[in-house]
């Protein structure tokens, strides 16, 4: 790839007069030696899987094998329509879809790791709800996935994307940043605005620990995906409104590396601390062990 940082990415887009998604497709094709059509087709398939996961999560029983989680997406969706939600509207829809995909993941259904399985709900939640709302074509969404991938590529190589390495800020945080930047571009924002959206979003998840109860990708992972989708929409709105990330986004990514590296092991996916070690978290873990 011809860029290692978000500022290089934005400059490159400006020089070539193209968006982040289009540029990433070109770079990807150059790297892999496969045609742009082939690479686009693979990403299209992935988008198909994301849609399928949203649909399954909204219509099927997603109770996980542990029995701890499931069906929250459908609860939120029906509350969105039947009651007077605090959030509701497009944000409520994005939240429901994000929960849906995460629940499908927890119940061993098919998903796309974006960037990981623990954070797989955020991008589909944001993308599908916005596609329905704005009437965008599938191909437009697929180019948005390339934009999200470009942002994730920079974050992953300059910091981390897995909870075991950098806490949940790395996992859910990266996905929020990717979704926020991509959505900014999809809504007509410039590459520079998209990059600001990434920084704004990442700032809001700095320090988030990875503390899955019982070590399972369920509690609190699923609801964090729901919250994440809403945060991504908010960050895109701020960037589109002209809010800038005063601390440049590349510097925020470095802060994430610093904070994640300083996290004790108990807060990095080991279930040794945080919510996993609360009295209830410990009880759930004991019950799971006895069930086996």
């Amino acid at each position: 790839m011809n860029f290692q940082t978000l500022s290089q990415l934005a400059v490159l887009c400006e020089e070539r007069g193209m968006g982040i998604g289009a540029l990433m497709l070109e770079e990807q094709s150059e790297e892999s030696g496969r045609s742009k059509e082939q690479e686009f087709a693979t990403m299209s398939q992935y988008y198909g899987v994301m849609k399928e996961a949203v649909y399954r999560g909204m219509t099927e029983d997603t109770t996980s094998r542990s029995g701890l989680t499931g069906l929250d997406a459908q609860r939120v969706a029906s509350y969105n329509t039947a009651d007077e939600p605090c959030l509701g509207g497009p944000a409520g829809q994005a939240m429901a879809y994000a929960l849906a995909v995460s629940e499908v993941n927890a119940s061993m259904g098919r998903i796309i790791a974006t960037p990981t399985a623990g954070s797989c709900g955020i991008i589909p939640g944001v993308f599908l709800s916005c596609q329905e709302r704005f009437g965008w074509e599938d191909d437009y969404m697929v180019s948005g996935l390339f934009a999200a991938g470009a942002i994730g590529y920079v974050i992953a190589n300059n910091s981390f994307v897995s909870g075991a390495e950098g806490g949940c800020q790395a996992e859910v945080g990266s996905a929020i940043g990717m979704a926020a930047g991509a959505l900014t571009e999809l809504r007509g924002g410039t590459p520079a605005q998209a990059v600001h959206a990434v920084g704004l979003a990442l700032k809001n998840t700095l320090g988030l620990i990875c503390d899955p109860v019982g070590g399972l990708v369920e509690i609190p992972c699923i609801v964090r995906n729901g919250f994440g989708a809403v945060t991504a929409l908010a960050a895109a709105d701020m960037a589109l409104a002209g809010v800038r990330s005063v601390i440049p986004s590349d510097e925020v990514i470095k802060v994430m590396l610093e904070v994640g590296s300083a996290m004790p092991e108990k807060h990095r996916e080991t279930a040794g601390g945080g919510l996993a070690q609360t009295p209830t978290g410990r009880k759930i873990m004991r019950d799971l062990r006895n069930k086996k």
């Binding site: 990807q28 899987v49 098919r110 998903i111």
Partner: protein, 236 residues
């Protein structure tokens, strides 16, 4: 760069719940199946570290079994793979290992081939986002990710073997992206691993097998999704 392309960030398509514990494990199992070169009739699976602590909750055992059946990370049969392995006549056992291991998510496999009775031991680690490394094959130190079409050549450690291998590559216009060689002892058994830019053709494999010092040539490529594999089965 740890992450090389867009699909190491968006993707893989996988069956949940954890890209490290499930998708990564499935890829390790599948890589082992490809290195064995035939279905396994026995599989002894030993988990270490975080894999050992949480493999049942994450379905890591099912993912490994699915990989050993050559399932891709997004194969919908993965949740039922232990039962499917039994039906296919594979005796599979799972255990928790102790002692030293190279990474928090490590699995060691001992396989016996169903057709030839060949034994294989292999150690794989799951490094996050579904990405893996195979670090040991039959006691040879290796580093292979399966993200590139990979050729494994078992050969004797004679002078000039590598030169003849790379000459075959040059003639066939195959570019080598990464290469490693490990040997048991001087003039003894050796294993060379080549990561290529393009998939190896039958012609290339034939030429490599024809080299006098070469004992066997195997291919590992984990890029195919379940849909592509299904398409392959459909072709007569």
């Amino acid at each position: 760069m740890r992450f090389k392309d867009v699909f190491s960030i968006i993707g893989p398509a996988m069956v949940g719940p954890s890209s490290s514990h499930t998708a990564g494990a499935a890829r390790i199992g599948r890589a082992a199946r490809q290195v064995l070169g035939e279905p396994a009739r026995e599989a002894e699976v030993t988990f270490f570290g975080s894999f050992a602590a949480t493999y049942q909750g994450h379905g890591t055992d099912r993912a490994i079994a699915g990989g050993l059946l050559d399932f891709a990370t997004d194969d919908s049969r993965l949740p039922d793979s232990i039962e499917l392995a039994a039906e296919a006549g594979m005796e599979i056992s799972f255990g928790q290992g102790t002692g030293l291991f190279p990474h928090p998510n490590t699995v060691r496999l001992r396989l016996v081939g169903a057709q030839t009775g060949t034994e294989l031991t292999l150690t794989g680690i799951s490094i996050g986002g579904g990405n893996i490394e195979i670090v040991d094959i039959d006691g040879f130190g290796v580093k292979l990710t399966g993200m590139y079409p990979t050729v494994l050549i078992q050969h004797m450690d004679y002078l000039g073997v590598l030169a003849s291998v790379t000459e075959v590559m040059r003639k066939g216009q195959f570019n080598i992206g990464h290469m490693s060689l490990d040997r048991k002892n001087r003039s003894g058994a050796a294993l060379t691993v080549l990561e290529l830019d393009e998939a190896a053709t039958p012609g290339l494999l034939y030429e490599l097998r024809a080299l006098s010092a070469v004992k066997s040539v195997k291919v590992v490529d984990l890029n195919e999704s379940a849909q592509e594999l299904k398409g392959k089965d459909d072709t007569p």
